[in-house]
């Protein structure tokens, strides 16, 4: 089931009595989630991603715009009739019911033709429980489960009524780091097996990049960029997206173009096809540095972190005043830590230019 949002806007009335200005949580959203895909809504907290999810679930009504599931306009359809499964950030498992009762709860609410017998409900619950691998825990109460297990129960409860769309609201934020990695694989697997169109909200770019088929990057209620994770990473439309994606984060420098030459601070790093002399912002991905004693970029070396396969060179640069630059290079390279500076050549595709004021991407090529 594809999900389409068409010019969807959600405003909340201002709480501030002096200044009557509505808060626009979701601003003119238009995008399409293809059938059977897993899509990640990504943005810093307060960017409206949870609101967007609630609009799809029907728990909140859009101020304007339309929402479609397939070809059905479901904008005015109440949440229970939309056929969505929602996994809450804190799971919202009913504490007084066993795992089995939690999972069968949505089935007990079915009416009319869809009504199921008790045996059928339990059969379905066991099938789903098997899918998420909690079939051995059916008689326990949620309080007797670990965080990861609770998470699975919440997913099972959302899946058991065969929703058309599965919504996950920061599903991994309550888990520890290891479990988070494991569970995100699990979510990916479950999504692949069930082929249910899934929307996943997170503020963790790592999470979104690793499991989403498509990611939607949001900021202050406005969609910044939609695309495949790798595309968005390597080809961001603006500085915000570039900074938001990637660990270690992109190195951001003040730079300028002078007679076609790109300068970072006072370091000339390469001739470009840009002709206009202008100040701009330069972003360099951590993997965009090549150790080279002839390299144009001269950084002040502050240390080297060995991470096994790679090493991370930690340095500073006068043109990047508030930032420590981390550059990832293969551990086979040897860094002379006795010198105060380190010189880099830059990989052309990993250097991104942005407008100084608007932050929009400036396309260019090295020549």
């Amino acid at each position: 089931m594809k999900v389409v949002l068409q010019n969807v806007t959600k405003k909340f009335p201002s709480r501030n009595k002096k200044e009557k200005k509505d808060v626009i949580a979701v601003n003119d959203f238009t995008f399409e989630i293809p059938d059977g895909k897993l899509i990640g809504l990504l943005g810093p907290s307060g960017c409206g991603k949870s609101t967007a999810l609630n609009l799809i679930s029907g728990l909140q009504k859009p101020t304007s715009g339309r929402i479609f599931f397939g070809d059905d306009d479901i904008t005015a359809v109440p949440p229970e009739k939309r056929g969505v499964g929602l996994v809450f950030q804190n799971y919202a498992l009913y504490p007084h019911l066993t795992v089995k009762q939690n999972i069968t709860f949505p089935l007990e609410n079915l009416k009319g033709k869809e009504k199921m017998t008790k045996a059928d409900r339990e059969k379905r619950a066991y099938e789903i429980a098997k899918l998420v691998q909690i079939d051995g825990l059916m008689e326990r109460k949620p309080s007797e489960l670990s965080g990861g297990q609770q998470q699975r129960v919440a997913i099972a409860r959302a899946l058991v009524k065969m929703p058309r769309v599965l919504l996950l609201d920061e599903p991994l934020s309550n888990l520890d780091a290891r479990l988070r990695l494991q569970t995100r694989e699990e979510i990916k697997r479950i999504q692949h097996e069930t082929k249910i169109t899934t929307v996943f909200v997170t503020h963790d770019q790592d999470e979104a990049m690793s499991i989403s088929d498509l990611i939607v990057v949001m900021k202050e209620g406005i969609i910044q960029q939609i695309g495949k994770p790798q595309e968005v990473y390597s080809d961001p439309v603006n500085l915000f997206v570039a900074k938001f994606l990637g660990t270690p984060p992109i190195g951001v420098y003040n730079g300028r173009i002078e007679d076609g030459m790109l300068y970072i601070g006072d370091d000339a790093v390469g001739k470009t096809n840009l002709t206009e002399n202008t100040e701009l912002t330069v972003g360099i991905r951590p993997e965009g540095y090549i150790l080279d004693s002839e390299g144009g970029l001269v950084c002040n070396l502050s240390g080297v972190e060995v991470m096994g396969r790679d090493i991370s060179i930690v340095s500073t640069h006068p043109a990047a005043p508030d930032q420590v630059i981390r550059s990832i290079i293969s551990s086979e390279k040897i860094v002379d830590t006795s010198k105060p500076t380190v010189r880099f050549k830059l990989k052309p595709g990993k250097v991104l230019l942005f407008d100084k004021t608007s932050g929009n991407r400036i396309r260019f090529e090295f020549i």
């Binding site: 679930s57 029907g58 728990l59 949440p79 229970e80 009739k81 969505v84 499964g85 929602l86 809450f88 804190n90 919202a92 009913y94 504490p95 007084h96 019911l97 709860f105 949505p106 609410n109 079915l110 109460k141 309080s143 409860r157 009524k161």
Partner: protein, 296 residues
């Protein structure tokens, strides 16, 4: 006893002394009095030891009447007031606009003096030669004849006592239940709503189990409070409750303690012990039942 333990007891001592002096000692004392025949507090003497006191009060028509009244009061008012409080709290928590106004109104009886409220109820329900209370005026409006609720037939008086008791205990229960309801997270309701549960089912399957510990607390304290009813009856029917047939067990204890000069402390003690046993039994039954129905 090691040093640590000794210190712990030392810190507990002040509280323990108070409990011993004002709770344990009187309790034991009353228990002893209840077996001492014809004990008088003035001379501190008694004539014999045995079950005579119990046998006497269990054959005393006044005590049996008080017992009956108390049980009727408990059986009617505890479920009724708890149920009403639940309905009102559910209503209050589902409205937004004038919620605070209603919360205040419902809470007013709690801060009002029992006797003053009793007086108001008396005026509402009374029927004298010169004037009728508001309730009787209403009855007349619907073509029914007046009833003297204050000094008339037994069931009429019991009716007023029950209405009065329910009215007096409601605010506290509403207060507890509205805060219990407010503490149920919105996520549970959202989850249940998405799962297609009707409001009624949400209430029965989600809300009620979630607030069951508070419901249970209210039922236990409600039972205990109703068994100890006394001032309510006095407020409505005056101090001579036996002749009004409206006495309660606590009222009987009080009457036995202070009637006829020195009174009959032995009888009073026996009645108090019987009340204690009843309350203890009911509370134990409540605890056992609650194990099955109260969640987490």
């Amino acid at each position: 006893m090691d040093n640590q333990n000794r210190k712990a007891w030392l810190y507990l001592l002040p509280a323990l002394i108070f409990i011993a002096v004002f709770l344990a000692y009187p309790l034991i004392d009353v228990f002893i009095y209840s077996f001492e025949e014809n004990y008088t507090s003035a001379s501190q003497t008694y004539t014999g030891v045995g079950f005579h006191n119990y046998s006497y009060i269990l054959h005393d028509a006044d005590f049996l009447q008080a017992l009956k009244n108390t049980f009727i009061l408990v059986v009617i008012t505890v479920p009724l007031s708890t149920g009403l409080a639940l309905l009102i709290s559910l209503g209050l928590s589902s409205i937004k606009a004038v919620r605070h106004l209603f919360q205040t109104i419902y809470f007013l009886p709690y801060v009002t003096n029992t006797l003053a409220v009793g007086l108001v109820f008396m005026i509402l329900f009374q029927k004298t030669d010169s004037q009728e209370g508001l309730v009787n005026a209403l009855l007349n409006m619907f073509g029914m004849s007046s009833i003297d609720f204050i000094s008339g037939p037994y069931w009429a008086k019991m009716f007023v006592l029950c209405v009065y008791t329910v009215w007096v205990v409601l605010p506290f229960k509403i207060l507890i239940l509205t805060s219990a309801l407010a503490s149920v997270k919105q996520d549970y309701y959202n989850a249940a709503k998405l799962d297609g549960a009707s409001s009624f089912r949400i209430c029965r399957k989600i809300t009620l189990p979630m607030i069951s510990p508070m419901m249970f607390y209210l039922i236990i304290t409600g039972f205990i409070g109703a068994f100890k009813a006394y001032s309510d009856a006095v407020a409505l029917f005056g101090t001579d409750l036996n002749s009004a047939e409206m006495n309660t067990i606590v009222g009987y204890v009080y009457d036995k303690l202070y009637s006829d000069g020195g009174g009959y402390p032995s009888y009073a003690s026996a009645a108090a012990i019987i009340l204690f046993v009843i309350v203890l039994t009911i509370t134990c039954i409540n605890l056992i039942v609650s194990k099955k129905h109260v969640h987490y």
